[in-house]
Symmetry: C2
Subunit: 381 residues, 2 copies
Amino acid sequence: MQNFKIENPTIVHFGNDVINDLGKVVSNYGKNVLLVYGKGSIKKNGIYNAVIHQLNSIKANVIECKGIKPNPLIMDVNNAVSLGREKQVEVVLAVGGGSVIDSAKLIALGISSGGDVWDFMENKRKPTAAVPIISVLTLAATGSEMNQFAVVQNPQLKKKLGFRHKLMYPQHSFLDPSYTFSVSKAYTAYGIADLIAHALENYFGKGEATLSDRFVYSIIKEAMDYGPALLNNLGDYELRAKIMYAATMALNGLTSNGREFGEWGVHSIGHILSLLYDTAHGATLSIAYPAWLKLMTERIPERISELGKALFDQSDPEKTILEIENFFRKIECPVRMSEIGIDGSKKSEIIQLMIQNKVGGMHYSLKDKDVKRIVEYMFEG
Amino acid sequence: MQNFKIENPTIVHFGNDVINDLGKVVSNYGKNVLLVYGKGSIKKNGIYNAVIHQLNSIKANVIECKGIKPNPLIMDVNNAVSLGREKQVEVVLAVGGGSVIDSAKLIALGISSGGDVWDFMENKRKPTAAVPIISVLTLAATGSEMNQFAVVQNPQLKKKLGFRHKLMYPQHSFLDPSYTFSVSKAYTAYGIADLIAHALENYFGKGEATLSDRFVYSIIKEAMDYGPALLNNLGDYELRAKIMYAATMALNGLTSNGREFGEWGVHSIGHILSLLYDTAHGATLSIAYPAWLKLMTERIPERISELGKALFDQSDPEKTILEIENFFRKIECPVRMSEIGIDGSKKSEIIQLMIQNKVGGMHYSLKDKDVKRIVEYMFEG
C-alpha cells in the first residue's frame, strides 16, 4: 500500500428535498451568486425554479451563466470568468451534471485568479485561490460533485484535458435522486458506463490496495445489479438513489486510497472521440474500455482475471471483457464505433489525433502500435 | 435509502513516516499542546520520542497527561480537563488507540466548555466548542481516529456510555502502520474483532442501503482474509496497513450512509462485560456478537442469510453464525464467557447489570427475556 491522504472537504447532502437547505448554505458564503447551468433542461423539470426560490429566500443577487455544453468548452468558462469578475461573484453555484460542475470549478478558479483558465489546464500557471463552489447535481455520472477534477475541451487546439486541484472541491453538493428523474434512458446509461469506467480507472492504477479493490467491485456490482432495472423504471427513486450514490463514490477518492495513481488511459482515448464527433462521454468509454482491456490481456492478464473473479465469478480475462461488453450492450451503450455511426474510413483520423494528443494512461503507456490496435478493436466485429 | 449527509472533516495521513508532518500540522493550531497517552508503552517503542521530536521542532509547550486506561475512565478525563484549562491548552494531541483518542475528544470538549464532562454523556448539557484534536494512532481497532464518537466509563455509576458530537472529529489523524508493530497478538486480534463488530453494527442498522452493505462485506472480508496472516506476522507492514485501513473505514460513516442509524446493541452488551470484569473491548464483542445473532435468527433470518451469502457463500443463518464464531476462534478471540475465565455463577450479576443499563440496540430492542437468552448463549457450549 502506498502512502495516501484522505482529505475531502465536500459536504454532501443526499436525499429527497435536500434542496430546502440550499439557501441557508449559500448564504454562508455570500450574496452574489453565479448560477451556472446547461442548455436549459432545468427550466423544464422544475429544478431551476426550486433553486431560484432558495436564492430568493436569502435575497441573493443571481447572475446567470447558462449554455454550458455537455462536452464543456474553455471559451464558455473564460466568458463566465469575465462575467463573474465584473459582477464580483462570491459563490459559484453549479446546477447540472459533470460538464456544468466541471465548468463551475474552473470558473471559480478563474474568478479568483484572472487570465485565461486554459493556462491551468496546460500547467502554465498555478491557481492560488477559488471562490466557493456549491453544486446541485442533476445527472449521476462523473462524480464531480465530490472531487477535485475538471475536464474541459479546447476546440481550437483540438485538446480535451483534465485538471485536478484541491481548490476545486465543492464546499457543498446537493444530491436529490429525484432531480435525475428526467434524465433520458440513454444518458442514464452513459452515466452508468461512466461510473463503472471511473472505478476501473482506479482499479488499474499503480500500487496494490486490496480494500480499494473491494470498494471498486462493490461499486461496479451495485451499478450492474441495479442499472438495468433503473433503465426500465426511470422514475424509481430508490434505483436513482443507488446509481447516484455509486457514481459519487466511484470517484471521490475511495477507490484510489493506497494507490500511487489511477490509470486514466481509457479516458484519454474517450476524450479523442468526444473531440472528433462530440460523442457523449459515457458512450466513448463503453467503446474504449473493452478495446483497451483487449490490449491489456497481454500485459496484465492476472489483474483482469482478478476482476473477473470478483464481478462474474470466473477468472478468464477474455470472458471477463466479454461480460463487461455484454453489460454495456444490455444497458444499450455502444461498444463499437459503428454503433455511434462512425465507419472504418475514420480510423486514420482517430489514430492521428490520439497520437498527436499522446493518449496513454498514467500507469500503462501506449506506443503508436498499441494505439492502432485499440482503434482496430473499437471498430472490430 | 434514507437521506444522509457526508461530512467528515478529519484529514488522514496514512503510511510510513507520516509523523514527519506532525509538527507542521500541530503548529497550525497552537503552541500549548496537551499530550494524552496511555500507560507508557509509547515510551518503549519509540513513538513517544518521535512525537516529542516533532513537538520540539515547533517549540511547543508540552503538557503531559498520561495513564489513560484501556477502558477509559471519566475521572481521568475530568482531571485532564482541569489541567488543560489551567495550562490554557490550544491543541489536544492523542497518541494511542481508541481509549486514548476517545478520552482526548472528551477532554477537548471539556477544556472549551468546563464543568463535568459526564454531563455530556448523559445528555444533561450540550458542548458548544472544543479545542482542536489531533491523533497519532497506535492501535487499529476503534476507528476513533476518523469519527465523532467517544466511549468512556463511570465506575461509580457502573455505566459505560458512548457519545457522538460533530466537534469530536479529529482535525488530523496520523496513521503509520509500523506504529502498530508492537501491539501484542491478543490485542491485534481484539482490534480485528472490534472492526468487524463495527461493520456489523452498521449492517444491522435501520434502513436499506445496498452499497453500504457491500462496503460492510468488503471491510469484513479484508479483515478475515488478512487478519489471520497478520497474527502470524505481527511485524508485516502491508498486513498491518490493510487492517489499520479497514478499521478506519469500518466506522467513519462509510458503512452507515443511507441508513437511519446503526444497531449498536452488541456494543451495549459488551460494555457491561468491560464494566464488570475489565474485559478488553474487542474480546467482549467476539463473545457477544454470536450470542446476539443467535437470538436474531428468529427476528431477522433473511438479513443474516444475506450476510452469509456475501461473506461465506452460503445462506443458512445458523451456519453463518458458526462461520463468524469460527473466525473469532481462528484469531484466538474468546467466543464464550468461560474463555475469559468467567463461570456460570456470574450469570445473574451480568443479567442484572444489563437490565439496569437498559442494554438493547437502537434498532432491535431487547426485553428482559431476550437479555437472559443472550447471556445463556454467551455461556453455552
